[in-house]
C-alpha cells in the first residue's frame, strides 16, 4: 500500500503538471496503475455515493483527472473572461458569476430529468469547454467601437449561458469481456468521437467494426449507434430505472455493405457469384449506389412476418423496401407501386434488432427487427415488429433500412472509420518493429497486428502517413527515432506486480504513441486487457529493463497522465472551488523542477492557466497548427471537447520530443479528452449532487475509502 501511495503522489505531481498544460487532450495511456480490484461492477447504482464506491480505483482516478482538468479549464476560462469583462465595462461581468451558478445548478436539473440509468449519470456540467470567442482581438478595437465591444460581451455572456446548458453524461460502456469503461460524454459529441475515445482507452485495433450499441433490456432490443449520431440524446431517453446498457463491440454488420456491397445490392445472385465478386466490381457498386446524386437503396422485396397490433399472432405479408419507407402489398392488390401500402417511414423511428423474440412474442423465428421512436422504452402499440426467416435476410433488411434512413452519412461514417483504422494499423506497423525488438514475446500485438494490417502493408515512411491522414493530425513526426520506451525507473516504481509484464510492456512501451492514439492506432494490446477490471495489466512490469535500456529515455509520463492518483485529501480541499481565479496564475512552474506532490496538487487550483511551458521547448508547432486547421475547436482556451484526434496530436509530438531528460516532468497533456471520462456509473442520477466541487470531494472520499479498504 505504501508503495502505491507513494506512487500515487508521484502521479499526482505529474497530473498537476498535466493539468497545467491545459488545452491538450490527453490520451490516457491505457494502463492505469494502482490497486486493482476484482471486477465486481454492479450495474445499477442507486446513488452517487454508492456508485462512487463501486467504482474501480482506476476509474476513479480517471474520473478525477478528467474532472480536475475540466475544472481547471473552466476556471481558467472564467478568469480570462472576468478579466476581459472587467477591463471594458461592467455590464456583462454580472453574467459570469451567474454563470457559475448555472453550472452548479444544471447538473441537478439534469439528474432529475433523466439519467439515473446505470449508464448515464449526470455529471458536472460545469465546464463550458468553449473558449470565449473573440476577446483578444476585439480588445484593441474596443476604444474605437464601443458598441462592438458591448455586443461582444453580450455574445460572450450568452455563450457562457449556453455553455452552461450543455449536458454531459457519465456513461459506462460495457466491453465484451464483461468489464466496463466509464467516460464522460457531452451532448455535442458524436458516437464517432466517443469511439475514438474508447480506442484510446482500450487500445483496441480500431477497426471499422468497433461500435457502440444500445440495448433495451425490457424490450429485448439492440441497436448499433451510427457514428454520426450524438450519443447523449438517445441515452437521455432511457428511463430512470432502466437496465439498458451501452456496449462497445465489434459489429461486423455495421459496415458490411461497404465491404461486400454485392451481398446487398445483388442479393438475388447465386452465392458463388457473390463470393467471387471482384474488388473492382465492388468499387463500381459503391460508386453507383453511394456516390451519385442520389443514394440508391437496395432493391429488397420479400415475405416477412408482421406482428399484428396488440395480438400475439404473426401474419405474413409481402414487403418492399423503398427509399421512402417500407411498404407491403395489401390483399388482392398488385405489386405496382401505386397500390403499395405504407408500413413505416423512417423519419421518426429507429430500427432495432430483437433478441429472443421467439420466447417473448412467439415469433416464428428469432430473426426479428423492430421500429420504434427512440423515446419509447416500454411495450407500446407504437412499436412495429417484423420477423424474417433467417439471419441473413434480417441483415439485408436492417442494412437496407439504414441506407434508406441515413443515406450519405452512412458512407461518410464508413470512410471516416476506415481512415481511422488505416491509420491505426499503419501506426501499429510502424511501432511494431521497434517494439518487437525489445520485447520479443509480445504475443498480443502480434496476434492483433495481422488483423489490423488488414491489407495495408506496413509503411514505415513517415510521408505516406501524413498524407493518408488527410485532415487528421499528422502523427508525431519524430516518432521514428524517438520511440520512447517507458522509463524504467518509473515503471519499476509503479509496478507493484510483475505478473503481466510482457504485455504490459507493450502497452507502455511506446508511450508517445499512446498519447497520440486518438487518431493513431494505439498499440493494440488486447482491448479488454487494459480495462479497469483487469488488474494485472495495469501493473507495469518493470522487467524489461534490459530491453529498455537501449531505448531512448522514456517519456513515461504520457502513460501515467491519465491516471491521476488519488490525491491526498488535503489537496482536495483546495481543489474544487477555485477562488483563485482572479489572480491569473502565471504559467506553471518550470517543468524541470518537479513540484512536490502535494503542493503540486494544490497548485492546480491556483495556477490554472498553464500555458504549457513545455511547448516552446519542443518545437512542435506543426502539429498544433494542423490541429487548428483541422476544424478543431477554437484555440484560445484549452478546447476541452475537441475531437479527440486533433487534440491528441498536439500532445504526441510533445512527449516524443521530450523524451530526453526529465521523464517525469514532461506532462503529457492533461487528461481531459474530449470526454473526460467520468465515472458516474449510473447511479449518480439519483444523487444529483450539485456542482463539480461536491462531486469531486465525493470522489476523493470514495477513493480514499477504497484505498483504506485495502
Amino acid at each position: 500500500m505504501d508503495d502505491i501511495d507513494a506512487m500515487f503522489s508521484d502521479l499526482l505531481g505529474e497530473m498537476d503538471l498535466l493539468t497545467q498544460s491545459l488545452g491538450q487532450e490527453t490520451v490516457p495511456p491505457a494502463s492505469v496503475p494502482g490497486p486493482t480490484e476484482e471486477p465486481n461492477f454492479s450495474i445499477g447504482f442507486t446513488d452517487l455515493n454508492e456508485s462512487l464506491n463501486e467504482l474501480e480505483d482506476n476509474d476513479l482516478d480517471a474520473l478525477m483527472a478528467d474532472l480536475v482538468a475540466d475544472l481547471n479549464a473552466t476556471e481558467e476560462r472564467l478568469a480570462a473572461q472576468i478579466e476581459e469583462l472587467q477591463v471594458p465595462s461592467p455590464p456583462p461581468p454580472h453574467k459570469s458569476p451567474t454563470n457559475i451558478q448555472h453550472c452548479a445548478a444544471s447538473p441537478e436539473s439534469l439528474t432529475s430529468n433523466n439519467s439515473g440509468s446505470n449508464a448515464s449519470t449526470p455529471s458536472s456540467s460545469t465546464t463550458s469547454p468553449f473558449p470565449p470567442p473573440p476577446p483578444k482581438s476585439s480588445k484593441p478595437t474596443m476604444e474605437e467601437i464601443e458598441a462592438q465591444v458591448k455586443a461582444d460581451k453580450i455574445k460572450l455572456a450568452l455563450e457562457k449561458l449556453k455553455e452552461a446548458k450543455v449536458k454531459k453524461l457519465v456513461v459506462k460502456v460495457l466491453m465484451n469481456d464483461g468489464s466496463a469503461k466509464t467516460l464522460m460524454v457531452d451532448e455535442r459529441q458524436t458516437v464517432r468521437e466517443v469511439l475514438d475515445n474508447m480506442f484510446e482507452k482500450t487500445h483496441c485495433d480500431c477497426n471499422v467494426d468497433w461500435s457502440l450499441c444500445e440495448t433495451n433490456h425490457e424490450l429485448q432490443l439492440q441497436r448499433t449507434f451510427e457514428d454520426h449520431e450524438n450519443l447523449v440524446e438517445p441515452l437521455l431517453a432511457w428511463t430512470r430505472d432502466s437496465e439498458n446498457k451501452v456496449l462497445f463491440q465489434e459489429i461486423g454488420e455495421k459496415y458490411e455493405v461497404f465491404k461486400n456491397p454485392q451481398n446487398f445490392y445483388l442479393w438475388k445472385k447465386d452465392k458463388k457469384t457473390l463470393k467471387d465478386f471482384k474488388d473492382k466490381d465492388k468499387e463500381i457498386l459503391i460508386q453507383e449506389n453511394f456516390c451519385g446524386t442520389s443514394i440508391i437503396v437496395p432493391d429488397l422485396e420479400g415475405v416477412l412476418h408482421l406482428k399484428e397490433d396488440g395480438k400475439k399472432s404473426w401474419k405474413q405479408r409481402l414487403f418492399q423496401l423503398r427509399a421512402s419507407g417500407i411498404y407491403y402489398v395489401s390483399k388482392g392488390k398488385t405489386k405496382s407501386s401505386r397500390d403499395l401500402v405504407c408500413f413505416v417511414q423512417f423519419d421518426n423511428v429507429n430500427v432495432y434488432y430483437g433478441k429472443d423474440f421467439k420466447n417473448k412474442y412467439k415469433a416464428p423465428t428469432d430473426f426479428c427487427f423492430v421500429f420504434k421512436h427512440p423515446q419509447i422504452q416500454k411495450e407500446s402499440q407504437y412499436i412495429k415488429y417484423l420477423c424474417c426467416d433467417d439471419a441473413w435476410s434480417m441483415n439485408l433488411w436492417v442494412t437496407g433500412i439504414r441506407i434508406a434512413k441515413y443515406g450519405a452519412s452512412l458512407y461518410e461514417d464508413y470512410k471516416t472509420a476506415e481512415k481511422k483504422a488505416a491509420m491505426s494499423s499503419k501506426w501499429t506497423n510502424r511501432c511494431m518493429p521497434s517494439s518487437s525488438n525489445t520485447s520479443t514475446p509480445s504475443p498480443t500485438i502480434k496476434a492483433k497486428s495481422p488483423g489490423q494490417a488488414n491489407g495495408h502493408a506496413p509503411k514505415p515512411q513517415p510521408e505516406p502517413f501524413s498524407q493518408d491522414v488527410g485532415n487528421l493530425p499528422p502523427p508525431p513526426p519524430p516518432l521514428d527515432g524517438v520511440l520512447p520506451p517507458p522509463p524504467p525507473s518509473l515503471a519499476a516504481k509503479l509496478s507493484a506486480r510483475n505478473s503481466f509484464s510482457k504485455r504490459h510492456l507493450l502497452n507502455k512501451f511506446p508511450p508517445p504513441p499512446s498519447a497520440i492514439d486518438n487518431n493513431l492506432p494505439p498499440p493494440p494490446p488486447p482491448p479488454p486487457v487494459d480495462d479497469t477490471e483487469e488488474p494485472p495489466q495495469f501493473l507495469p512490469p518493470p522487467p524489461p529493463v534490459a530491453g529498455f535500456a537501449s531505448l531512448p529515455p522514456p517519456p513515461p509520463v504520457a502513460g501515467f497522465a491519465s491516471l491521476p492518483p488519488p490525491p491526498p485529501v488535503a489537496g482536495i480541499g483546495s481543489l474544487p472551488p477555485p477562488p483563485v481565479m482572479s489572480t491569473l496564475p502565471p504559467p506553471p512552474p518550470p517543468m524541470n523542477s518537479l513540484p512536490p506532490l502535494p503542493a503540486s496538487f494544490r497548485d492546480m487550483g491556483q495556477s490554472l492557466p498553464p500555458p504549457p511551458p513545455a511547448r516552446e521547448v519542443f518545437q512542435s508547432p506543426p502539429p498544433q497548427t494542423v490541429f487548428i486547421g483541422s476544424g478543431a475547436p477554437p484555440p484560445p482556451p484549452p478546447p476541452p471537447p475537441p475531437p479527440p484526434c486533433a487534440a491528441t496530436k498536439v500532445v504526441a509530438p510533445r512527449s516524443a520530443l521530450y523524451t530526453p531528460g526529465s521523464l517525469k516532468k514532461t506532462p503529457p497533456a492533461p487528461p481531459k479528452r474530449s470526454t473526460p471520462s467520468l465515472h458516474g456509473g449510473g447511479g449518480g442520477g439519483g444523487g444529483g449532487d450539485g456542482g463539480g466541487g461536491d462531486f469531486m470531494s465525493e470522489l476523493m472520499l470514495a477513493m480514499q475509502k477504497k484505498r483504506s479498504d485495502h
Partner: protein, 646 residues
C-alpha cells in the same frame, strides 16, 4: 474526260424554277461544282452555309475535295443546293417551344451539342432529340399553338470552352431584354399546369406504351435531314440517358430546371410509378418550388458581382457561426418571440378529458406548457409537453373553420396523442409553426419561424380557394389547385380538400428548402424510385416465342416478363464482354462473362436505338474517369455509331 450535264435544284428560287444545268466531267470535285453553280446563278449572296444534297441517296456531299466519280454521281443524280442550317422547332421538357437554328447536315449528336450550347446546358451528351407523338401533334395544331420563342438569331461563339456568363446570362442572350427574358423562362420553372392539362396529356398506361416512346429517338450518328426532318418541324429535346454528371446549380440553371421539368412530368403523367406517400412528397416539392420560384426571380437577376459578394458574406457568416453557436443565434434566444394564448386541448386516448378543454398555453423552447388561466401562468403548469422528436400533423378545414394540430408526443410508454384546437387561421399559423420547429428541436427563436408561419398561411390560402364555391379555373399564383400537383389518378381518388392536408403534411419537412435544394430533392427522390432510369424496349429473345421487355438502365440490362411485369434477369454492364449488332438481320447479341450469351431482335424500336442506348450508357460511365471537361465525341461515336462508325 467526257463532259456531261448535271442538273442541280436550287430550292431558294422557288419550287417551280427549273434546275440549273452544269456541264461537268466526272473528275470534277464537288467544290468545283459549287463554284460553277454559284457563278451560273449570278446571284450575290453568302453561299457559305450551302451544300449539295443528293436526294436519292439521302446524303450530303460535304467533302468538297471528292470528285463526282468518287461519290458515284452520274447524270441521273438529283442534287439539291440547300443551306445546311435551318430553323427547327424545339419542344423543351418544360413545355416551352423554341425556334432554333439547327444543323441539318451534321450528326444529331453534334446538332444537339450546338443546341445545348445555345441554351447553356452542360453535358449535352445526356440529351437527344425525340420525335413528338403524332396524335398529340394533330391536337396541338388544332386547339392551341403555344407561343414559340424565336432563338434563331442566336449564334453562340463556337468552341468548347464553357459559355461565359454575363450577369448570370450567357453573353449571347444578353443582347436584348427580350432575349434575356427568354433565357429566364428557360431557367425558371414553369407555373403549375392546370389539372385539365395534365389529364389531357398522353399518359403511357403500360410498359409497352413506354417502350413505344423509345422508338422515337433520332439516330444520333446521322443528320436531321437524313432522318426526314424538315425545316420548322417540331422535335422534343429530352434527357435521354439517366446518368446526370456533376449537377452544379451555379452553372446549370437551365439544365437543372429542364431536368426538373422532365422529372416532374414523368411523375405527373405516371411515366414512372410511385407510391402515394411519394406522390405527396412530389406534390409538396412542386408546390414549394412553384412558390419560391415566383418570389425569387428578382434574385436571379441581381448581377453576378452582387451575388458573389452575397454568397461570400453568407459563407463568412457560416464560418463565424462556428458550428454550434452564433452570436445572432444566441441573441435570438434571448429575444425569442413569445407565444402564449388560450387554446383548446383534447386527448383522444384518455378518457378523463371529455371533449376539448380550454387552457392557457405557453410555448417555451421546444415545449408547450398549459395552465388553468393566464393569471396562473406564473406558477407550475398543469402539464408540460415536450414536442421534440414528436410528430405534428395538420387537420385543417378552412371552410368549416377547423384548425386542429394533431400532436404525437413520444414518451417511454409509447406515443401520446394530443390535439390542439386553434380559433382562427392566424393563431393556427403561429402555433403550427411553433410545433413544427419544436418537433425538429428548434425553438421559436429559430430564424425560420416567420417563414414557417408564412408558408402555413399561404398553404391555407390554397385550401381556401379550393374549397370556395368558385370553381378552380383561376390559376393565378396564390390559388393553385392541389390537383395540379399530383397525377390524374389522385384526382379521382381525392378531392382537393382531402389532398391539401396530405400534401401539407409532406410539405412540413421541406418548407424551408431553397429553390435549388428543393429541385435537387425532387430529383433525388425521383432517382431513388425503384424504376428510375429504365428505358423500355419490346424485344424478342432468340429462342423465345413471345415478346418480352428489355429495360435499359445506366448500369444494367433487365429482362422483364411482359405479362406479369416481373424482372426475369438482370445483366450488369461491367460483366459485359462485348455486344454486337447484326445489321442485316437486325439482331443484337451480347456476351457476358461466364459464357453467357444473349441475343434478341427489337420490336418497338430499331436495333440502332438499343445499340445506342447501351453504347451511350457505357460512354456515360467513362466520363467520371477522365475529368477533363471536354467531351470525347469520337468515343461516343465509336460506341454508339454502329456501322456508320466503321
Amino acid at each position: 474526260m467526257a463532259a456531261w450535264d448535271l442538273s442541280i435544284i436550287l430550292e431558294d428560287l422557288g419550287p417551280d424554277t427549273p434546275p440549273i444545268t452544269l456541264s461537268v466531267s466526272s473528275d470534277l470535285h464537288v467544290g468545283g461544282v459549287i463554284i460553277k453553280l454559284v457563278e451560273k446563278t449570278q446571284m450575290k449572296r453568302d453561299w457559305s452555309d450551302y451544300a449539295l444534297w443528293w436526294e436519292q441517296k439521302q446524303q450530303w456531299l460535304l467533302r468538297t475535295a471528292w470528285t463526282l466519280e468518287k461519290y458515284g454521281i452520274h447524270a441521273d443524280a438529283r442534287l439539291l443546293f440547300i443551306p445546311q442550317h435551318k430553323p427547327l422547332k424545339l419542344g423543351l421538357p418544360s413545355g416551352m417551344t423554341l425556334k432554333v437554328w439547327a444543323s441539318f447536315s451534321s450528326p444529331v449528336f453534334q446538332a444537339v451539342m450546338t443546341i445545348c450550347r445555345i441554351l447553356n446546358i452542360r453535358h449535352p451528351e445526356e440529351l437527344s432529340l425525340l420525335r413528338p407523338l403524332e396524335e398529340k401533334k394533330k391536337k396541338k395544331d388544332k386547339d392551341k399553338v403555344g407561343e414559340i420563342y424565336d432563338l434563331t438569331g442566336v449564334r453562340p461563339a463556337k468552341g468548347t470552352q464553357p459559355v461565359s456568363l454575363y450577369n448570370d446570362v450567357p453573353a449571347h442572350f444578353a443582347d436584348s431584354a427580350e432575349m434575356e427574358a427568354i433565357y429566364k423562362m428557360l431557367s425558371v420553372t414553369q407555373t403549375q399546369p392546370a389539372p385539365e392539362i395534365i389529364t389531357k396529356q398522353y399518359r403511357p398506361s403500360s410498359v409497352v406504351d413506354k417502350a413505344h416512346i423509345n422508338g422515337r429517338w433520332l439516330d444520333s450518328s446521322r443528320c436531321l435531314r437524313q432522318q426526314g426532318v424538315q425545316e420548322n418541324d417540331l422535335l422534343w429535346l429530352r434527357f435521354k440517358y439517366y446518368s446526370f454528371c456533376d449537377i452544379e446549380p451555379k452553372y446549370d440553371a437551365v439544365r437543372l430546371t429542364q431536368l426538373y421539368e422532365q422529372a416532374r412530368w414523368a411523375i405527373l403523367l405516371e411515366d414512372i410509378d410511385c407510391t402515394e406517400e411519394e406522390m405527396m412528397l412530389f406534390g409538396a416539392l412542386q408546390y414549394h418550388i412553384g412558390k419560391v420560384s415566383q418570389s425569387e426571380p428578382e434574385r436571379m437577376s441581381t448581377n453576378a458581382a452582387m451575388e458573389n459578394l452575397e454568397s461570400a458574406l453568407q459563407s463568412l457568416e457560416v464560418k463565424m457561426e462556428g458550428g454550434s453557436s452564433s452570436a445572432s443565434d444566441m441573441l435570438d434566444t434571448m429575444m425569442a418571440p413569445e407565444l402564449s394564448d388560450y387554446l383548446k386541448i383534447f386527448r383522444p386516448k384518455k378518457l378523463t378529458l371529455k371533449g376539448y378543454k380550454q387552457y392557457w398555453f405557453k410555448f417555451q423552447d421546444t415545449s408547450i406548457s398549459y395552465f388553468k388561466s393566464k393569471e396562473e401562468s406564473v406558477g407550475e403548469p398543469i402539464q408540460q409537453i415536450n414536442l421534440k422528436g414528436g410528430e405534428v400533423a395538420p387537420d385543417v378545414n378552412v371552410a368549416s373553420q377547423k384548425f386542429l394540430i394533431r400532436l404525437l408526443i413520444p414518451s417511454p410508454e409509447g406515443m401520446n396523442e394530443v390535439y390542439l384546437r386553434c380559433e382562427n387561421e392566424q393563431q393556427y399559423a403561429h402555433w403550427m409553426a411553433g410545433c413544427l420547429l419544436a418537433s425538429k428541436g428548434k425553438s421559436l427563436a429559430d430564424s425560420s419561424f416567420q417563414s414557417e408561419i408564412q408558408s402555413i398561411r399561404s398553404f391555407l390560402a390554397v385550401q381556401k380557394t379550393n374549397s370556395g364555391s368558385s370553381s378552380h379555373t383561376l390559376a393565378s399564383d396564390e390559388s393553385m389547385n392541389t390537383h395540379s400537383l399530383v397525377s390524374p389518378r389522385y384526382h379521382k381518388k381525392y378531392k382537393p380538400k382531402q389532398l391539401t392536408p396530405r400534401i401539407l403534411e409532406a410539405y412540413q419537412n421541406i418548407s424551408q428548402l431553397s429553390m435549388t435544394d428543393a429541385m435537387m430533392r425532387f430529383l433525388q427522390t425521383w432517382q431513388a424510385l425503384p424504376d428510375f432510369g429504365i428505358s423500355y424496349v419490346v424485344v424478342r429473345f432468340k429462342g423465345s416465342r413471345k415478346d418480352e421487355v428489355l429495360g435499359i438502365a445506366s448500369n444494367r440490362l433487365i429482362r422483364i416478363d411482359l405479362g406479369v411485369g416481373d424482372v426475369v434477369k438482370t445483366w450488369r454492364y461491367n460483366n459485359m464482354k462485348q455486344w454486337n449488332v447484326n445489321w442485316d438481320i437486325r439482331q443484337v447479341a451480347i456476351e457476358f462473362e461466364g459464357n453467357v450469351n444473349v441475343a434478341f431482335s427489337c420490336v418497338t424500336a430499331d436495333c440502332k436505338i438499343v445499340h445506342e442506348f447501351i453504347g451511350g450508357y457505357i460512354f456515360m460511365s467513362t466520363r467520371s474517369r477522365e475529368k477533363s471537361g471536354t467531351l470525347n465525341e469520337e468515343l461516343f461515336h465509336k460506341l454508339t455509331g454502329g456501322h456508320e462508325a466503321l
